[in-house]
Subunit: 132 residues, 2 copies
Amino acid sequence: MSSGPALVSILRQDSYLIASVHTALDDSEMIRLRNNLVEQIGRYRSNGVIIDVAALDVLDSFGAKTLATIAEMARLRGALTVIVGIQPDVAFAMVQLGMGTAGVPTALDLEEGLAYLNARVPRRPVRGPLGD
Amino acid sequence: MSSGPALVSILRQDSYLIASVHTALDDSEMIRLRNNLVEQIGRYRSNGVIIDVAALDVLDSFGAKTLATIAEMARLRGALTVIVGIQPDVAFAMVQLGMGTAGVPTALDLEEGLAYLNARVPRRPVRGPLGD
């Protein structure tokens, strides 16, 4: 399982974490994404998380539920989560099946997601090398 | 079906989409409206949608449900939806038949709908005075 291309890449930009999902994830991979993100929020003291699902053309109910769980766990750890890039077909399926992301903020794409966080997350002074 | 007057016109005003329904729509026309709106949200990066149903004197349960679906899909794509112009008879029928738009914001008319969006949708930093 550790071989092959990365299914999710988690980048750090200032105080944000940006998780890009590159392909459909099965349940165990969703859980690993959840654990990785929540762990990195603590390690990097992130206060904003963007989950980019633009590459997904399908999202099952477990995946949608896990995204909502991640957002709530992140909130409890002090970070605001926004989900970006939900494709029209995925949006339709989520609504029809009643598995909305229930209150998780969403945005059209990465740019809008960053704007959303920038408008809501308090700025943190950039730390120099002494701070690390 | 493609001949004749347009049943719905979708106009773009800044970052909003304004869909005016001119006549009663059957199910397939409602679905086409849904797909067009959701597609245009992505194409034009809209963050607000107004659906004007002032010309409708009847709205069946499928229509009401589809309006709610549009609103939720738009939210998942990062846009806020408000339905305007629900006529008294339509409002009465919707309440009596229990087919409310379940949480979708509504406003009296187009002007109120625009005011609703203006108060809630973050301004684009493209134009207007800059300020942090």
